[in-house]
């Protein structure tokens, strides 16, 4: 039988000194899907995300990529498999230009990244590709601008371009619209839709309108375990999900009142 899932977890568990942040999570992401991981605050979304991207070691359980276990691999090794993550706070290289940001992602396959005796000019052949990637996210005019001087929404777009530079088979996005104004959110949603073609995306997202517009499949986490899974319609109709979300919101409203 062929392996239908690109990424899969079996009994994934993470304990912090007796506190179980992630409890026996079985997650299956189908190839080509935009898959969202949602849940109320403290549900363990970010922890799951860090486990998947190897930024945290799991206490128990297995992670499989295309059917092969990657549980024991290092964070930089899974990036080479084509599993590339983004970060919640915009993760750009602030004192490098937009072009350099993308180029540093492109340069590893050249095999000269340890060559401290070579000139930077040896990277010039990558500039055209880097510019094309910047153009793809609407940043061609920013090529020579130091990233630290760019507006927030543009930084996030630059991050996407940098991620795309690795030509990932699967992108893991950690709250890609966090801290953005409505206009920027729309732009990023369009961008994700566009770059997701031919790739798989797993994203942690708070903004439910973004999730409803983008995602094929949604996994709801609550208190570290999977509460529900399905498409947006079925998940949003699930009474348990409503309770987890609305219940906490209703409780919040009560305390406010």
């Amino acid at each position: 039988m062929t392996q239908p899932f690109i990424l899969e977890t079996r009994g994934l568990t993470k304990e912090f000194r007796g506190f179980t942040a992630v409890d026996d999570v079985n997650l299956q992401v189908q190839e080509g899907h935009i898959h969202a991981l949602i849940g109320p605050n403290g549900a363990g979304k970010t922890t799951v995300f860090n486990l998947l991207t190897k930024f945290l070691p799991p206490t128990r359980g297995e992670i499989l990529y295309r059917g092969k276990p990657i549980t024991g691999m290092k964070a930089n090794e899974i990036a080479r498999l084509g599993l590339v993550r983004s970060f919640q706070i915009s993760a750009v290289f602030a004192h490098m230009t937009a072009l350099e940001n993308v180029r540093v992602a492109l340069q590893r396959p050249l095999g000269t990244s340890f060559h401290f005796w070579k000139s930077e000019k040896s990277l010039a052949p990558l500039n055209a590709r880097a510019l094309a990637l910047l153009d793809e996210v609407g940043l061609a005019d920013y090529a020579d601008v130091l990233t630290v001087e760019m507006p927030y929404g543009r930084k996030r777009a630059l991050e996407v371009a940098t991620t795309l530079a690795l030509d990932p088979t699967m992108m893991l996005l950690d709250e890609p619209t966090q801290g953005m104004g409505a206009e920027d959110v729309d732009r990023i949603v369009e961008l994700i839709r566009r770059v997701a073609r031919g790739r798989t995306v797993l994203m942690v997202e708070h903004n439910l309108s973004v999730v409803s517009r983008l995602c094929d499949r949604i996994t709801v986490l609550a208190r570290g375990s999977v509460l529900a899974e399905g498409d947006y319609a079925s998940v949003s109709a699930d009474p348990r999900v409503r309770e987890a979300y609305m219940g906490s919101e209703a409780a919040q409203e009560e305390t406010h009142a």
């Binding site: 930089n76 983004s86 540093v104 000269t112 340890f114």
Partner: protein, 327 residues
């Protein structure tokens, strides 16, 4: 697609900046060549040795973002190994002695680095300090260093067995050449494919990891390069003063190089050179004046002022002004 066909304004600016930089390099080299006829060569050599030491340190702090508090160990190792070899084997030419000292520092750097880069921030600094103290006590106890007395009368010998370095003028030009080589290595490393990755790691380490880079290996290389260049500085200094002593291994020296780098401007190529020049000049001038006992206090005050009011150091602040007015 203006970027692929014509020169963008930014590229023109870059090109012009490069021409200006090259002109600056030529002027500075010319000054370096004339300097020994204007100033005392031994003082200039001291400045150059410390400038190289500070450049080595800056490669690590300014471009890899790693604060080592144990760089004296590399300076001293370079110095002692070179001093010991040249004193014990009269047939050995000075350039081979210096090379051996540098290699010893490289090996020690690989050892220190492998242990220290597992930790970050202040813990990294503490590990380097602890290891450097270990090396200090080894040097105090070992017979080959001469203990508290140090190694005296290290022969300068003849370069390649041909050019005698006994005269201070000949020695000066040799030191100047060594400094230029060291500076060029740092300059190139910073502007290399490796330098790009190093900058990326300094700017955002988790992101560099997520791009597939094994950041520890890159940090280790930076550490080894920095240690090797510090060793080269120490080895050359031993030849200049014909002396290797515990002063170089003491943690004061590790602190002094931090001061030089920060004062001159961390993360700038010329900052450490300027910083070394200022600190060595002050030390020399003050030592001759009635304020001789106050050197540490004065340097400390300058350090505090630097951290409080001009954080990017002398060269860093100048660069800011230039950027604001000439862009």
């Amino acid at each position: 697609m203006s970027h692929t066909t014509a020169l963008t304004p930014a590229m023109k600016l870059q090109r012009r900046a490069k021409l200006r930089r090259n002109a600056l390099y030529l002027v500075l080299i010319a000054i370096g060549l004339v300097a020994p006829f204007v100033a005392y060569p031994v003082f200039l050599m001291k400045v150059l040795c410390f400038a190289l030491f500070a450049c080595a340190f800056n490669l690590l702090l300014g471009y890899a973002g790693l604060l080592s508090f144990g760089h004296a160990a590399f300076l001293a190792t370079g110095g002692y190994v070179t001093g010991f070899l040249l004193s014990s084997y009269p047939g050995l030419t000075p350039e081979l002695g210096i090379l051996a000292g540098t290699l010893a520092a490289v090996v020690l750097g690989a050892l220190f680095g492998a242990l220290a880069i597992r930790r970050q921030g202040i813990y990294f600094a503490m590990v380097t300090l602890a290891l450097a103290q270990l090396v200090f006590f080894l040097f105090v106890q070992s017979p080959f260093t001469g203990g508290e007395d140090g190694l005296h009368g290290v022969p300068r010998g003849a370069l390649f067995g041909l050019i005698s370095l006994r005269s201070n003028l000949a020695m000066y030009y040799f030191v100047f050449a060594v400094f230029l080589i060291g500076f060029a290595i740092v300059q190139r490393a910073v502007h290399s494919p490796y330098g790009q990755v190093l900058k990326a790691i300094r700017e955002n380490e988790p992101r560099a990891v997520s791009l597939g880079y094994n950041v520890d290996a890159y940090k280790l290389l930076a550490f080894v390069l920095s240690a090797g260049l510090a060793g080269l500085a120490g080895a050359t200094k031993t030849l200049v003063f014909q002396l290797a002593s515990l002063t170089d291994a003491h943690w004061h020296m590790s602190g002094e190089v931090i001061l030089m780098t920060l004062l001159g401007g961390v993360g700038t190529l010329f900052g450490p050179v300027v910083g070394a020049g200022v600190v060595v000049s002050l030390q020399t001038q003050l030592a001759q004046s009635p304020l001789g006992n106050w050197v540490s206090v004065i340097l400390g005050t300058i350090f505090v002022l630097c951290v409080l009011s001009f954080r990017s150091g002398i060269v860093g602040e100048i660069q800011k002004v230039v950027k604001k007015n000439f862009k």
